[in-house]
């Protein structure tokens, strides 16, 4: 059975492009755009890998990650964070909160694919 990736991102064209790349690579991709309900969505249907944008409407990716790491079922979930801000402090914050990987936009398709395969064992 194809492994599941959940992409939490609010830019529709980025969602479309990433979904296409991953689907073509054999992943089952689900998407979600609202920060406020994102943690609930993850807990309800935990994926094999979560791709989480930092700047989301309603709630930041950092807050969502903190929430997930505190929950038993999602404490060890592989999480790749995406951000438009490559500042060291954002990277440090992500890693401190327990992100598995941190990726700065704009990224290449090959790069994101390689990390998804690596993190979710594709």
């Amino acid at each position: 059975m194809a492994k599941r990736v959940l992409l939490i991102e609010d830019e529709p064209n980025i969602i479309e492009a990433i979904s296409f790349i991953l689907t073509r690579d054999g992943w089952t991709v689900h998407t979600h755009s609202d920060g406020e309900t994102a943690a609930e969505r993850v807990r309800a249907h935990p994926p094999d890998l979560l791709i989480l944008d930092v700047m989301l409407p309603g709630r930041s990716g950092f807050d969502i990650l903190r929430d997930l790491r505190a929950g038993e079922g999602t404490a060890a979930l592989p999480v790749m964070m995406l951000t438009a801000r490559g500042q060291t402090k954002d990277r440090e914050m992500a890693m401190r909160l327990g992100a598995t990987h941190f990726m700065t936009k704009p990224f290449s398709n090959a790069e994101i694919l390689a990390h998804v395969r690596d993190l979710a064992g594709g």
């Binding site: 064209n13 980025i14 479309e16 438009a84 990224f107």
Partner: protein, 427 residues
């Protein structure tokens, strides 16, 4: 005396560097070996023809051997060495360096000065990027559009067969994102290169610039004018800045009513602008005295003071910098008495402080925190802190260390450090 002593040492060092014996140099300059020995061990002062003769023999500018020559440059090099102690520069040999390689020494000193300037610019830019929501939002929009275009274009350019439906969708997405990028780029360019520097100013900056134009002094309010009239008289304030200006003018008017200029001006001169003496003499609250001192007219012989005011969260609401003193809008060093006072409301603090760097002048600061308005029952008082800053005398007790923001502060072992510095090699 110390400078004279170095002249002999410099002669000796230069001679040794050239591999010449004391006897041979003495002969060449027409003096005895024992006299040269006394000179080299700083037991005889030297100048005039003999200094010129020795300098000629040693192939060095006499000014660099002479008493005090190059000391300013050597001081600059020592200061540069202390900003990066892990480099292990031999501070005690700074004078040798200026004597032997004056060009390199000038380059190093100039580069150290340039680094200091760039650090200040970095602080200003960091502050701007952190606190300008319009700029941050615009950059985010640009990066998001670029990410979408890059990703989509890569799919189209991969050469793999795509069905017509997907192909059409991706072309449309690229077109939309390109339009979005073009529009956002124009917005960003207009924002950054708009009508002069004013386009880059936040309301906070605009108010500071307007108050700086009048040396912080508002004669209209001193003469009993209303805050509204005072703000109307400040030219070119934007709509966003006017409420800030009005709040400051109200505070100013209340302070001026409590300590009228006609009386407080002479009192301040008499007390050499010492806040403690003025608080005792006038009986006014510390914050009122500090703010009043910052707004006295220079034309009456009052000095310029630096001023910083922050709220209970440490966010600055006023900042008048001085040479050697500035603070970022937030994320500043918590060691400044401005922030320390917040933990001790009602207790004025005085301290002698200095920023990192040998050339940073010591500063004398007075700070006091107090409720900005009466607190309601059960509600915490909304505190503000006021800090007055002026240059301190060069001689005096060791100043307490303070910094700019952690990211640009080289004090690695500071107990107040929140995050690693960009200025050190610590990962």
């Amino acid at each position: 005396m110390a400078r004279r002593a170095l002249t002999g040492s410099r002669i000796r060092q230069r001679r040794l560097d050239l591999g010449r014996s004391q006897a041979e140099l003495a002969r060449a300059t027409g003096i005895s070996g024992s006299y040269l020995n006394l000179i080299e061990h700083n037991r005889r002062s030297i100048g005039g023809a003999l200094l010129n003769s020795l300098a000629r023999e040693l192939g060095i500018d006499p000014a660099l051997l002479a008493e005090g020559a190059g000391s300013e440059m050597a001081d600059a090099l020592r200061a540069a060495a202390r900003t990066l102690p892990e480099a292990g520069a031999e501070e005690e040999r700074a004078e040798d360096l200026t004597g032997r390689f004056p060009g390199w020494a000038r380059l190093m000193a100039a580069q150290a000065g340039r680094i200091e300037t760039l650090e200040e610019q970095l602080a200003a830019l960091t502050d701007r990027l952190t606190h300008d929501p319009a700029l941050a939002a615009s950059l985010h929009e640009v990066i998001s559009a670029v990410t979408a275009i890059r990703s989509t274009a890569s799919i189209l350019a991969s050469g793999e067969a795509l069905d017509a439906d997907w192909q059409g969708r991706f072309h449309r997405n690229i077109f939309e994102d390109a339009q979005r990028l073009a529009a956002e780029s124009r917005t960003l360019a207009t924002y950054l290169e708009g009508p002069g520097e004013a386009a880059l100013r936040t309301p906070f900056d605009e108010l500071e610039a307007a108050l700086e134009q009048v040396d912080q002094h508002l004669p209209l309010l001193e003469a009993g004018g209303t805050p509204e009239e005072a703000v109307a008289a400040m030219p070119g304030l934007s709509r966003a800045t006017r409420p800030l200006a009005l709040a400051w003018a109200r505070r100013y008017a209340a302070d001026a009513a409590a300590l009228p200029l006609a009386r407080f001006g002479p009192q301040a001169l008499e007390a050499a602008h010492e806040p403690g003496a003025l608080i005792a003499e006038t009986g006014a609250p510390a914050q009122v005295v500090l703010r009043r001192l910052a707004c006295l007219p220079p034309a009456d012989g009052h000095p310029a003071f630096g001023l910083a005011i922050c709220d209970a969260a440490g966010a600055l609401t006023r900042l008048r910098p001085l040479p050697g003193f500035s603070l970022p809008r937030s994320g500043a060093c918590p060691l400044w008495p401005l922030y320390q006072a917040l933990g001790q409301p009602g207790r004025p603090l005085a301290a002698r402080v200095s920023l990192p760097g040998e050339r940073a002048p010591p500063l004398l600061v007075h700070a006091a925190a107090a409720p900005a308005a009466p607190a309601g029952f059960g509600a915490p008082p909304p505190l503000t802190s006021v800090m007055l800053v002026r240059p301190a005398a060069a001689d005096g007790p060791q100043p307490a260390p303070v910094g700019p923001a952690c990211r640009i502060c080289p004090r690695e072992r500071c107990p107040a450090r929140r995050e690693p510095s960009l200025m050190t090699s610590t990962p």
